[in-house]
Amino acid sequence: MAAQRIDLKNPILAAALAWFVPGLGHAYQGRWFKAILYSVCIWSTWFCGWALGDGKVVYYNRDMKRGRWTAGYAAQVLVGAAALPAIYQNGRASPGGKPEDRSQIELKGPISGTFDGALAGVNFTDGRKAFFRVRGQLEMQPSDDDSFRRSVTGRFTGTVHPTDENDAGVADGTAVEVSVNYLESLEPEVFPSAHRALKCTVKGRISGAKGGDISADLRGKVLNVRSLWNRYAAPLDAEGLEAAHGDLGKYFEIALVYTWIAGLLNLLAIWDAFEGPAYGYGDEDPATGKRPDDKSVPPPVVATATPAPVFAEPPPPSQVSATG
């Protein structure tokens, strides 16, 4: 047995370490080549998938109300420490055992940063309608007004970039300044993206435009406002999953497969840490299965004749007659 030639130390501890951090179990056993090989292969596959999926493919989403859960996570969690935060993040994102509805999520504190998005359904006071791409600075905070639960106050200042089809007579790069008054939709705080999407109603003015007073929907993302703690291994809600498929296309699936395969490969590595290599050390003679340092002579094979069947001799006739 190859395991007899390898000091597996405490196999259960080695297997646990191999699960928790790929390669660590073999390092504990002093099998350095395998420790490096497993860690490089499994970690690179894992992070390749993670990066390819824009950090959105490793998550555990359990909807207690509908009885659904992310089955692919069963393969991902075999990588151990890198996937475990997903369970905790699911609890943070779904406090009631169900993902939050974006139209019900409230703004809990101020949010500000560079905003990239669109002014949709723009209504000018003279009746013109338009749609503009916008980029600028957004500052928003919860309103003190208790009459509407989702009231917010804030301001967006930036520039508008009309589309070719509908410029409404507004030049590209025209300044816009609007005040925010009602939050229609907000992405969860725990979500696998650095940017936070929102949609709100606004009123304000586009500088220099004829009939420049407007009301519109401001929709888009505040860039780089989510901390790593709030986005690592965080679950996707239904809208987020749809958007991720739209943004990443087939690469979302490829990224998922990479992370699954990384986990499944680590399952093999865990078993290797527990039991040793399956076929042998690797230097055995293919014909005899012996190690190179094994000088023992195998016992000679002696051909033996098949022994004749032994039958009990029949009793003599005198005994037969006496008993009969």
Binding site: I42, D54, K250, I254, Y258, A269, D272, D283
Partner: protein, 64 residues
């Protein structure tokens, strides 16, 4: 995130190659202990997988 331009110009089949290499290495590392034996068997296995997939690709290409 992946560069969209790179992604658009890259055939998804190429993403198979790193997987073939890692799967071959890890699988054979669980079979043997000697590094030379692991590398030798991994190379054979990777070539066999690529040859098989290449054959399947050619077969499907001819069918289509």
């Amino acid at each position: 995130m992946l560069d969209p331009l790179l992604a658009a110009n890259m055939n998804v089949t190429w993403w198979l190659l790193p997987l073939v290499v890692t799967v071959s290495l890890v699988y054979n590392a669980t079979r043997y202990e000697l590094p030379e034996k692991i590398l030798q068997r991994s190379m054979k296995m990777a070539v066999a997988i690529i040859a098989f997939m290449g054959g399947a690709l050619v077969f499907l290409f001819l069918l289509s």
